[in-house]
């Protein structure tokens, strides 16, 4: 549904032409304005009717009413150009206006109908172009950013979905600063460890970065390619996160390569310093197994719609075997930390402490025997560590499981917990081929995910059954952004937010295991609902989140401040409870707050005499509601 502020299809403004003031053409050349005294025939008039606003890329039907002539045919113009053009939009001979795909510099166009009987007589209306509806804009921001703000909603309304995506694709990555080992920066010196610095940088970037989509996708990727400072140094995080952010719009094969060679993943899943096995040992299987099981293929062979392939006995077909795990494990041997300048080394293991540069190979520690990989692909003996690695990653990347496995999880993180098989199929097809023959094009995949009919259905149907639980980190960033919290920490640290999210079982880059904070296949007990984030919501965290909401509206979040006083914007709005609640509905709920919820909150705050308290209580009731917690 298009909001009333932008569109009113029922109440159409009739803009009558100037023909009433003129008397044209009946008597021929002798007629001049104001001098005609006895027209033989009433003057021709043209009146145009139609919508006052049109969304870019969509159409509006205009009609012309021509009076006082039997020839009612008209010629349609946009901004005075017959048939219009691609900049201002085109219009058909029957008055069907097609808005341009992107907003022109002037967002208002004039639609005119010119009488064919009397070409000097025309009717004109003004049509304002807009990018997206309020609901679309705010929902898109819930899917593509760390939380909508009033400004961002307005911006997306104006530039539209594809305009916003194009802008965001062009935004360069905000990079997390490297963390020196000694001395540690002031903000993590107190903890005497680097991870608080990494988390502070991460929060700040998520909340304030202008590359919101890139960071949001990087966050999703960080929950798929999981590393954790519970067992790797905080210094490893900035370069890892920066790689995910930089690669977010590249190719999935690039992400695989950069993750594989990162010291963060190397340290976390032990490809770092994994040497070729001697006679009495086996190669470390950790990265080999999890790269396939968790990051790219999953356990079972998949169809392109994400469903599991079964054998003749109805048993799932494994995506790989234990023997293949051991073969890949040998292919990944021989990698260690680069020297402090990022260069090659001969020492193995090399503990230079350089967690900023990709790992480097020491050939003498690489297993050079041949390996048989997926689909019978054989890596011949005698290859270098780099050759084996590249071939192994290519072997996995080209497996048909990667599209449905990876796209399903990206959809779950960005849009909905339980996408339909058809939705997964459509996105998997784009993963397989972006239209130009390229596999793994992340921009194309992300565009397909966000513009799919299933992602956008909720724009016009507030009760569309889908969405996903707002995980604790996204809850906190959304609060910071929407309510306008500002940082007051002496060192500019955002780390206090980790203390808040950790209570709810989530802390950036600090998961308990490689299985992330929650698994993609989690099913809510006593239901058949696949809803990953629900794995970390239970009766204990539910209460803790209520307490967090109380702290948020009462300005009790350490290192941050927010103004919700009587004189704040929210406080002033609270003078009229309905206005306040409608603003909160826009800011937090895509203007889709159910009527019953709206009236409950209005009734709850109206008796309060303090506008500040009205604001606090109303915000609390909105942000603790299940309607808000489920991004839908």
């Amino acid at each position: 549904m298009i909001p009333s502020s932008l569109l009113c299809r029922k109440l159409c403004i009739l803009f009558s032409s100037a023909a009433m003031l003129l008397s044209i053409g009946c008597g021929g050349a002798g007629s001049t304005p104001g001098t005609v005294t006895a027209p033989i025939q009433a003057a021709i008039t043209v009146t145009v009717a139609g919508p006052t606003t049109t969304q870019i890329g969509s159409t509006s039907q205009f009609t012309a009413t021509v009076t006082n002539t039997t020839n009612t045919a008209v010629t349609w113009q946009v901004d005075g150009v017959t048939g219009g053009n691609t900049t201002a939009g085109t219009i058909s001979s029957s008055g069907l206006y097609t808005a341009p795909l992107t907003l022109p510099s002037t967002t208002s166009v004039s639609i005119s109908a010119v009488s064919q009987a009397s070409p000097t007589v025309s009717g004109t209306v003004s049509d304002t172009l807009f990018g997206a509806s309020m609901m679309t804009a705010a929902r898109l921001l819930d899917q593509t950013s760390f939380g909508p703000t009033a400004d961002a909603i307005q911006h997306v309304q104006s530039v539209g979905v594809s305009g916003y995506l194009t802008e965001q694709f062009a935004q360069p990555a905000t990079l997390l600063a490297a963390i020196p080992t000694s001395p540690l920066p002031a903000l993590c010196l107190a903890n005497n460890t680097a991870y608080p610095c990494a988390e502070s940088e991460w929060w700040q970037t998520a909340i304030t970065g202008s590359d919101q989509l890139r960071q949001r996708v990087a966050f999703a990727l960080s929950e798929m390619f999981v590393v954790s400072t519970q067992s790797i140094p905080g210094q490893a995080i900035p370069s890892y996160h920066n790689a995910l952010a930089t690669d977010a719009f590249s190719n999935f094969s690039t992400i695989m390569k950069d993750v594989t060679l990162s010291p963060a993943m190397g340290g976390y899943l032990n490809m770092l310093n994994s040497a070729k096995p001697t006679g009495s040992q086996i190669a470390n299987e950790n990265y080999s197994r999890e790269l396939m099981q968790l990051f790219t293929l999953g356990l079972d062979a998949l169809n392109q719609d994400g469903s599991v392939q079964l054998d003749g006995n109805g048993v799932p077909i494994p995506a790989y075997t234990q023997t293949q795990v051991q073969a890949f494990a040998r292919a990944y041997t021989g990698w260690t930390l680069a020297n402090t300048a990022g260069g090659a080394v001969t020492k193995f293991p090399n503990n230079s402490g350089d967690y900023s540069d990709p790992m480097v190979a020491v050939e003498s520690k690489h297993d050079t025997t041949s390996k048989t990989l997926l689909d019978g692909t054989v890596l011949p003996g005698g290859q270098t560590a780099e050759q084996d690695l590249q071939a192994a990653l290519t072997n996995i990347f080209n497996n048909s499981n990667v599209g449905p496995f990876v796209c399903t999880q990206l959809i779950q993180h960005l849009v909905t917990s339980a996408p339909s098989p058809a939705y997964i199929s459509r996105v998997s097809a784009v993963f397989a081929n972006n239209g130009n023959g390229t596999r793994g094009d992340m921009k194309a995949v992300i565009t397909a995910i966000l513009t799919d009919q299933e992602a956008r259905a909720g724009d016009t149907n507030a009760e569309y059954n889908g969405g996903h639980l707002r995980e604790p980190v996204l809850f906190i960033t959304a609060m910071m952004r929407a309510l306008g919290f500002t940082n007051t920490d002496g060192n500019g640290s955002y780390f206090s937010l980790s203390g808040q999210s950790a209570k709810l079982s989530e802390e950036p880059y600090r998961a308990n295991s490689v299985f992330n904070f929650f698994p993609p296949n989690y099913v809510i007990p006593d239901s058949n609902l696949n809803a990953p984030e629900f794995d970390i919501e239970n009766t204990a965290t539910s209460v803790l989140q209520l307490s967090l909401a109380d702290a948020i509206v009462n300005n009790k979040i350490g290192s941050f401040t927010v103004d919700l006083s009587n004189t704040s914007a929210m406080g002033k709005l609270a003078a009229n409870p309905a206005n306040l609640v409608d603003t909160l509905s826009m800011l937090f709920m895509h203007s889709q707050m159910p009527d019953t919820m709206r009236s409950t909150i209005i009734n709850a705050i109206t008796p309060l005499t303090s506008n500040a308290q009205r604001a606090r209580v109303a915000i609390y009731l909105v942000i603790t509601s299940s309607q808000y917690k489920i991004i839908h």
């Binding site: 040992q281 059954n465 006593d526 809803a531 794995d535 204990a540 965290t541 539910s542 209460v543």
Partner: protein, 455 residues
Amino acid sequence: MRRRSFIKYASLAAAGNIAGLKPFGALNALAAGATDYKALVCVFLYGGNDANNMIVPFDNTGYATYQSIRGPLALGKTAPTGNNASDGYIQQIQSIPGFGLHSGLSDIATLINSDVAAPVVNVGNLTQPLTRTQYLANQLGSVPSNLFSHPDQQVEWQNAAASGATTTGWAGRISDAINGTYNGSATIPMVTSVAGDTLFCNGVRTTPVSVSPGNLGGASCSEGAECSARLAAAQSLITLSSGISLVTADDNITSNAYAYAATLTAATKSATALKTTFPANNGLAAQLQQIAQIINVRAALGVKRQIFFCGIGNFDTHSNQLVLQANLLGQIGPALAAFYQSTTEMGIANQVTAFTMSDFARTFQPNSNSGTDHAWGSHHFVIGGAVKGGAMYGAYPTLALGGPDDSGSNGRWVPSIGSVQYASTLAQWFGVPQNQLATVFPTITNFNTTDLGFI
């Protein structure tokens, strides 16, 4: 409490293991705790604990075999020094002299020697009894799905090896079966998790109460006199119907959260604090302490049967195993000892049984990275006054790569005991009647023994 347990307790106290509790206090507590009550406490070791370095042959021949294959990961029989001081070592178990226990678990050794704890060896997920030969013959129908995968093997331990995906765990199914029999007047569910949501806790009709250790109370409110109005409005929002499935699901959880928080707050408000000291800076100990505090108010909660879930992670020791595992076991030993002590303080040591579970054991053959990889059959502990302690249950695997117990050639033991048998033994002690056993454990009928006799 049986006299034998009292002596055990007294000897622990004499050894300085119990702080601040005199024997007469224990007797009083014993009298007070004599009502019908039993609790099972699951301690899940996430990541796959390398049990091969937890219980090790101590006789010369057995140890030599262990040492030769384990190579750089072999633990010594004496405390290491210098750079290796944090690696741990093997200490002989007095009551099971052929075996030694990791030094991080010396408190558990004390409990074994006091006959209130027992190791159960080479337990793992099975759908039916299985030999190496059968496994290698690739009899797929008889092998649990997705062996060596963490999440799958965790799930199979928790649902008691109903191979493949199920939506219930065995604690939840026990609750489905007997909650009505025992907990008719209970104000909270039979199952409590202090380590988040897990499959173990969920039944067809059962969802657990979750507790965040140290946060038993309700949500905070800073709105003074308006708090009750705010609460009323928030609770009224929960009741509004929605066409969004996840909104409804979230409403259900929130609604339970309000109810359980109120119940637990009321029950614990006037409770006497436990005197048992739990180790500080020990996440598992904090969870077990929270469990003890809830058990302590069992009468106010109206529960006669409770199952608890707690856990500790980072056992996935693919590298640097010696230091990592020694640190983790060094947390488990003191935490479980303190918990046992708290049950003696409450006078219900015979009525509370703790036990371990873990994804799987790890390859007996070390990898080239000072670590081990995912394997299968593993060793576990059961602890409590009801345990027939001081003995080892099950057949310790033959430590030979490619040997009779190896599923392949890297020392991934084919279990000799199914995790479902381990579970069903505990369940029968807990009160699941024979005629419900197959309902709770659908695969138990594939095994000859449903009770391993350790309790």
